[in-house]
């Protein structure tokens, strides 16, 4: 384990190897955020690189008012949103639109035939498939909570959304995931 403060002061004093250590420590977090928001696999890696370059350029301004991971995730989140904005790719704002339409239920299941679904027996794989179908805004919240073990408060800080909104989005996403899994697979499969 390394101390973030020492590592950052090393980087600021010009130690390139320290920055490489920093990248290796946070690349998983960055990839979790970027890969959930950006669908284009050719741009993802470049975007992850952009995130670390921004981190490097702004490291001197970081005042340790939050965790380093929160700050890095915030940069990754904003970089990904800028990417979507530049390419005019919309982020889905809500599962249920104003007219009560369930957008999540209408998301097409690319590349998965019903037969393939049946063949995909592993529950975790099924869950991952469903998470992949979530709108990026929700997928990233789920990933930050469940894979990065971040608190609702930290996620609210990263995404710059009110705490209540973040909580309700995550709760709703989980409920939808559960319902969709139950709809698609036999109940006894889920409760194996």
């Amino acid at each position: 384990m390394f101390d973030d403060r020492i590592l950052i002061s090393e980087i600021l004093s010009g130690n390139k190897a320290a920055f490489q250590t920093f990248i290796e420590a946070y690349q998983k977090l960055v990839s979790h955020v970027v890969f959930r928001i950006v669908a284009n696999e050719f741009d993802r890696e470049d975007l992850c690189q952009d995130v670390f370059l921004r981190v490097y350029q702004n490291l001197g301004k970081f005042k340790f008012k939050c965790k380093v991971s929160t700050w890095v995730a915030q940069i990754a989140y904003n970089t990904s949103l800028n990417y979507l904005e530049k390419r005019k790719i919309p982020l889905v704002d809500d599962f249920i639109s104003n007219n009560g339409h369930n957008q999540l239920a209408e998301i097409p299941e690319y590349g998965m035939t019903p037969q393939q679904y049946t063949e995909t027996r592993d529950l975790n794989q099924r869950i991952q498939n469903e998470v992949n179908l979530l709108p990026p805004q929700y997928g990233v919240l789920i990933v930050l909570y469940h894979l990065e073990y971040m608190s609702y408060e930290e996620i609210a800080e990263i995404t710059n959304q009110p705490l209540g909104t973040v909580k309700s989005y995550i709760y709703r996403a989980r409920r939808m995931l559960k319902d969709r899994l139950l709809e698609k697979y036999e109940l006894e499969d889920i409760l194996q």
């Binding site: 390139k16 990839s31 890696e45 690189q49 529950l123 869950i127 991952q128 469940h146 894979l147 889920i190």
Partner: protein, 169 residues
């Protein structure tokens, strides 16, 4: 009997400050419908905690470091060019001031104690008028020089932009 809501189950599984823990546990012991739903949520939480399998390629950090060194050198070229253009602009301005403006009368105006601001303004306006009348004959070469400098700067920036676009943020 009130069943446990989805939000309550999630709050319990989140291990947050859920005040109804004992009631929930008791209800789960007696209600098979809620117990099933609770198990579904447990399974979901377990599945969500597994890694998605998305991974950056081996040597990703090396790629970032390589790009960082290119970005640093491009930034340093940009900085040097900025200094160069700034210096040229400053020198050009100083030459114009020195050649066309009567610095002596301005200096007299500023060194006089308690010169009213209106008077200073008048002197400056006078200088501008004189400058414009002197520059009258040189207007075309002056404007042409300005445009050439501007054109070179724009071309320079465009060339740099396209050459280093992939390295810049």
């Amino acid at each position: 009997m009130r069943h446990i809501s989805d939000d309550e189950m999630q709050a319990y599984l989140d291990q947050s400050d859920f005040s109804e823990k004992d009631n929930l546990k008791h209800h789960l012991r007696t209600c098979s419908w809620c117990r099933n739903r609770f198990r579904q949520y447990q399974q979901l939480y377990e599945g969500l905690g597994k890694d998605s399998g998305y991974k950056l390629p081996e040597g990703f950090s090396d790629s970032v470091m390589a790009r960082l060194s290119i970005v640093s050198s491009v930034s340093s070229v940009h900085r040097q060019l900025n200094v160069l253009w700034g210096s040229l602009g400053l020198i050009a301005t100083l030459c114009l001031v020195w050649y066309f403006i009567d610095l002596e009368s301005l200096a007299v105006c500023f060194t006089r104690p308690f010169t009213p601001l209106v008077q200073v303004g008048q002197v400056i306006l006078l200088q501008i008028r004189d400058f414009l009348s002197i520059a009258d004959g040189y207007a075309v070469p002056l404007v042409a020089s300005g445009l050439i400098i501007l054109g070179v700067a724009v071309v320079d920036r465009l060339l740099l932009y396209f050459r280093y676009k992939q390295f810049c943020l």
